[in-house]
């Protein structure tokens, strides 16, 4: 009956798998942010102007803002259920570094809420008349940027998960942190259209991604410990 100690890698995989199974069984949580992204992005042409030339100018910004809002909407259920049913306590009592377990939860969360948005973005970009040469860059920036949004959002959620009624506090904490990513993402796409060299801009986004991957889970872990206190 008794087994050997699990390695941190095994605990990481088990947590990742568990969260993916939960997401599969709670399809609402997966579909909601995705639908939200589609709706917000499709409302812009109605609100601004259906003129293709004008849409093309704002397309990158619209896609990035929609992705940011969708990621914010999806954040809320990252730790909430675990907090309410006590699984979070079990997570904190694991002998493994909390960094890896939190990272596993973040990765699973991005796979089900961030990745679908990235994958559908070319379709929306087509609808918004984004110039042809910017498609590739848009996809790359979203691919690098949305994980950063998830990782940063995780800190805000971890800080607020213990609060009864949270309202807008999550947005107030998370959005200022997300602004640099939004700026870097949209500028990269804009500058490509202006014919600029891409390397430097992508390097900045890459640095943000690496920084978030290495540091944000530590902050989330510390915030979770405070929240269950």
């Amino acid at each position: 009956m008794t087994g050997q100690q699990a390695t941190s890698g095994q605990a990481f995989r088990a947590t990742l798998k568990r969260d993916l199974v939960i997401a599969y069984k709670r399809k609402n949580d997966v579909v909601n942010p995705f639908m939200f992204f589609l709706i917000v992005a499709t409302l812009f042409p109605i609100g601004i102007s259906p003129d293709p030339a004008r849409l093309g100018e704002v397309a990158a910004g619209v896609l990035w803002i929609s992705a940011l809002l969708a990621s914010l909407l999806a954040m809320d259920n990252l730790y909430r259920a675990d907090y309410e049913d006590g699984s979070l306590e079990q997570l904190l009592l694991s002998p493994h570094p909390l960094y890896f377990l939190v990272l596993a939860k973040n990765i699973s969360h991005w796979l089900v809420s961030g990745l679908p948005v990235v994958l559908v973005s070319p379709l929306i970009a087509y609808m918004l008349n984004l110039p042809d040469e910017a498609y590739g860059v848009l996809l790359i920036t979203l691919l690098m940027g949305t994980p950063v949004l998830s990782l940063l959002g995780s800190i805000g959620v971890a800080l607020t998960v213990g609060l009864g009624s949270r309202g807008l506090i999550l947005a107030v904490i998370t959005l200022p942190l997300s602004v640099p990513v939004l700026i870097a993402g949209t500028i990269t796409v804009q500058q490509t259209l202006n014919g600029a060299e891409l390397g430097g801009y992508l390097a900045i986004m890459g640095a943000m991604l690496v920084g978030a991957l290495t540091l944000a889970p530590l902050a989330s872990a510390a915030a979770l410990r405070i929240s269950v206190n």
Binding site: M1, T2, G3, Q4, Q5, A6, Q10, A11, A14, T15, R18, V21, I22, K25, R26, A81, D82, E84, D85, G86, S87, E89, Q90, L91, L92, L93, S94, P95, H96, L101, V228, N229
Partner: protein, 218 residues
């Protein structure tokens, strides 16, 4: 059933102490929950923590598990400060709180597999055997929201059967169990202690466990 009933301060410490606590002080909202609390849990002991509602039983257990750090005093794991041996300590601890740690959309097996995998490698047969032993045969693959509160409690308790943890810290594990469940859990506690483990449990229920130690709070 003999109970060595003691006020805080006199549960005997010995070289076999798994966990010992020295002059623990905790204050919440300007109310002192306990002060100068000294006790120890030894191998082979079942320690019941008694006290009226709000006397700090849950807080004490959460402090011991490191889930609450609003305390002063010393907690020793095999004679060494617990902060210095966190990995070893968490690897040998099974905690079941008020919130039992059972995800509602997962099945009992999936729940058990995850909580166990945080500590050790377990075979699926062991998981199924543990669930069957606690009367959940046939429910292994139902989602947990279809189970009653007592059954969810049993899902959570089945972890104790699979786990190698030496120290069990259980917060009100009897609340939703039926009479046979209570008997079974009492037997489990005794068995664990007889194997050299230790149990700390809070409950208002009169535990029918032989050689029970009691710590009174408040």
């Amino acid at each position: 059933m003999e109970a060595a009933e003691t006020q805080s301060g006199s549960v005997e410490k010995s070289s076999h102490s798994i966990l010992s606590v020295n002059s623990l002080f905790c204050e919440r909202d300007d109310r002192v929950l306990f002060r100068d609390l000294d006790f120890a849990v030894n191998e082979g002991q079942v320690l019941q923590i008694k006290g009226s509602n709000g006397s700090g039983k849950t807080t004490l257990l959460r402090i011991l598990c490191g889930l609450n750090d609003a305390y002063e005093g010393e907690i020793l794991w095999y004679g060494e400060p617990v902060e210095e041996r966190v990995e070893d300590y968490f690897g040998s601890l099974a905690y079941i709180g008020h919130r039992v740690g059972v995800n509602k959309v997962l099945t009992p097996v999936e729940n058990l597999r995850w909580t166990c995998s945080l500590q050790q490698v377990v075979e699926d047969e062991a998981l199924y055997a543990a669930l069957a032993q606690l009367g959940l045969r046939g429910f292994e693959d139902s989602q947990c929201f279809t189970l009653s509160a007592g059954q969810q409690q049993r899902v959570s308790l089945s972890r104790l059967l699979v786990s190698d943890a030496r120290l069990w810290i259980l917060d009100e594990p009897f609340t939703t169990l039926d009479a046979s469940g209570v008997k079974q859990l009492e037997a489990l506690l005794r068995e664990h202690a007889d194997r050299g483990g230790a149990v700390m449990v809070t409950t208002h229920h009169n535990l029918a466990v032989s050689d029970l130690q009691i710590l009174k709070l408040g």
